[in-house]
Amino acid sequence: MSKRIELRNLNVYYGSFLAVEDINMVIEPRAITAFIGPSGCGKSTLIRTLNRMHEVIPGAYVQGELTMDGENIYAPEVDPVKVRRQVGMVFQRPNPFPTMSIKDNVLSGYKLNNSKMSKTEADEIAEKALVGANLWNEVKDRLERPGSSLSGGQQQRLCIARAIAVEPDVILMDEPTSALDPISTAAIEDLAVELKDKFTVVIVTHNMQQASRISDQTAFFNIAGTGMPGKLIEYDKTEKIFSNPTQKQTEDYVSGRFG
């Protein structure tokens, strides 16, 4: 499963502060969409609205419409918990659950929700997710060890395995490689490319090479100044953004003239 996400006139607030203003875009299924832009431009804020994680922060809310395959996830009757079951998320810093083993971490989406499953079923899901996250060969002999015993790059892939184990439709990655070394980064990037066969992948990155290497579509965000809302400046095919952008700001940013 993989879903098309449409954002229409989306405004994102922290209390009275408008953080991201008037976003209109369509995120394609079975593709990687990259969000790039300088710090503070609202990329991370926006990606957190895609699974309704934004409203976890006290006082934060969203105006506008955000649909997944035509269904508005901000409709009043929608349960944010159910949205998050369809939209997996990987965070900037690897955050495996410290009290759980590697295997329990992978199965945490089920275990934390008290889902009953047989042992063979659990083993199958764990293996499939770990294989999917390119981590199986490294951890198959120590599934009962704590998740925090892995290296940073392995922990991040464990978090990806945890996210894909519940078979979501969309995977969100908020700067998933910014805390990792180049080799782990390459592993995560390869994985992201594999994941797009099955999922809609959205990735926030500060690394423009990363965006140009792996993404199909790129969205460039910018702010006019501190305290001003972030805006979507340009959104197009990745080759177009990096070779021949329409907007001057985009060109300045991707060519390294600022930011």
């Binding site: 998050r84 965070f91 410290p98 009290t99 945890r162």
Partner: protein, 354 residues
């Protein structure tokens, strides 16, 4: 050799034997001067405190001068501060060691099988024991824990995970106020509460004592749990939310297990804090010489009250009462020590590994 002077060259330093030698020298000098000057107390004994103070001051003075001359200003100041910190530490430890020694040496005399198998019923002189007090202490503290831990942990969860705005501020304020309640006031509260509900004939019982203890215990549990919940990284909560786990399950299955070691330690420390309370129990649970296993009716003895009453109301054979009092104090100390040990084991077992 000094032709090459580097700015990185270390200044000369005193040899390693300097410290023990200087200490030995200063204290023997102090001892000698006190003995020779004939500075003794009425009984003709040496004034040991004076020897230690003079020896310490001598050591500090000598070290300052010598170190300043040989090693320079920075190292001499370093030695002074080391001397001060060590002295402060010693001062802090002396009462603790002295107290432990006194309680153990005085308490051992009656720490026998009779002490743990008998009550004080029909005992006026020697013999008798504190079984009734031990049972009472364990029951009362157990009930107090059963009352305080759920209230305390749930209040802490409310404050950390849900509390926003005025109600949370109010609760925090009252928890602060409760922390400062004098224990006798907690005892009066429980006593009057049971007096109003059960009437003067039945007001004093074990449950009343347990309630007064839990009044003292709840704020300690709340504070400890609150601190532990606060240090659970927010990233773990977000990771759980992002998996589509509702908030209440996140708290039960992610936040609490991560903080469990700290919470358990906090609870044990809270127990250790109230198990030695005397004043509220004197009022609310009363005192008795007989066994009473039922906390719901009649007066109930507890160890701290046992220690107090044995000492305060000495009978015909004074020494027997005093010995029992010391043995009671030692038993209480052993219980608290065992609790602390359990806390350490728990925190080791439950803490997240990695």
């Amino acid at each position: 050799m000094s032709a090459v002077t580097s700015s990185l060259q270390a200044s000369a330093s005193l040899p390693r034997w300097y410290n023990p030698a200087a200490l030995l020298g200063s204290f023997s000098l102090a001892l000698a001067s006190m003995t020779l000057s004939g500075f003794e107390d009425e009984a003709g004994n040496l004034n040991l405190a004076a020897v230690i103070v003079i020896g310490y001051l001598l050591y500090m003075a000598i070290t300052f001068v010598v170190s300043r001359a040989v090693e320079g200003r920075r190292k001499s100041v370093d030695r002074m501060v080391t001397g001060l910190v060590t002295a402060a530490f010693t001062l802090a430890v002396i009462p603790l060691l002295s107290l432990t020694y006194t309680v153990v040496s005085n308490g051992l005399a009656r720490l026998d099988a009779t002490f743990f198998s008998n009550s004080m019923r029909n005992i006026v002189g020697e013999g008798g024991g504190a079984l009734h007090a031990i049972v009472g202490t364990l029951e009362l503290t157990g009930i107090a824990t059963l009352i305080s831990v759920p209230i305390g942990i749930m209040t802490a969860i409310y404050l950390v995970e849900y509390g926003r705005g005025r109600l949370a501020k109010l609760v925090t304020f009252f928890v602060d106020v409760m922390t400062g309640i004098p224990s006798i006031v907690a005892g009066l509260f429980a006593f009057t509460l049971f007096l109003v509900v059960l009437g003067p004939a039945n007001a004093i019982n074990g449950l009343a004592g347990a309630v007064s203890l839990s009044v003292l215990m709840v704020p300690v549990v709340i504070r400890a749990t609150e601190e532990m919940l606060k240090i659970v990284p927010n990233e773990l909560r977000e990771a759980s939310y992002a998996l589509g786990v509702p908030k209440w399950l996140t708290i039960i299955k992610v936040v609490i297990p991560t903080a469990l070691a700290g919470i358990a330690t906090g609870v044990i420390i809270a127990i250790a804090r109230v198990i030695g309370e005397t004043a509220p129990l004197l009022l609310a649970a009363g005192f008795t010489a007989s066994m009473n296993y039922n906390p719901l009716s009649d007066k109930m003895m507890t160890l701290p009250v046992f220690v107090f009453t044995s000492f305060a109301n000495q009978g015909v054979d004074t020494q027997a009462y005093i010995d029992r009092s010391w043995a009671g104090a030692l038993t209480l100390m052993i219980i608290v020590m065992v609790l602390n040990l359990i806390a350490r084991i728990i925190s080791r077992v439950f803490s997240p590994r990695g």
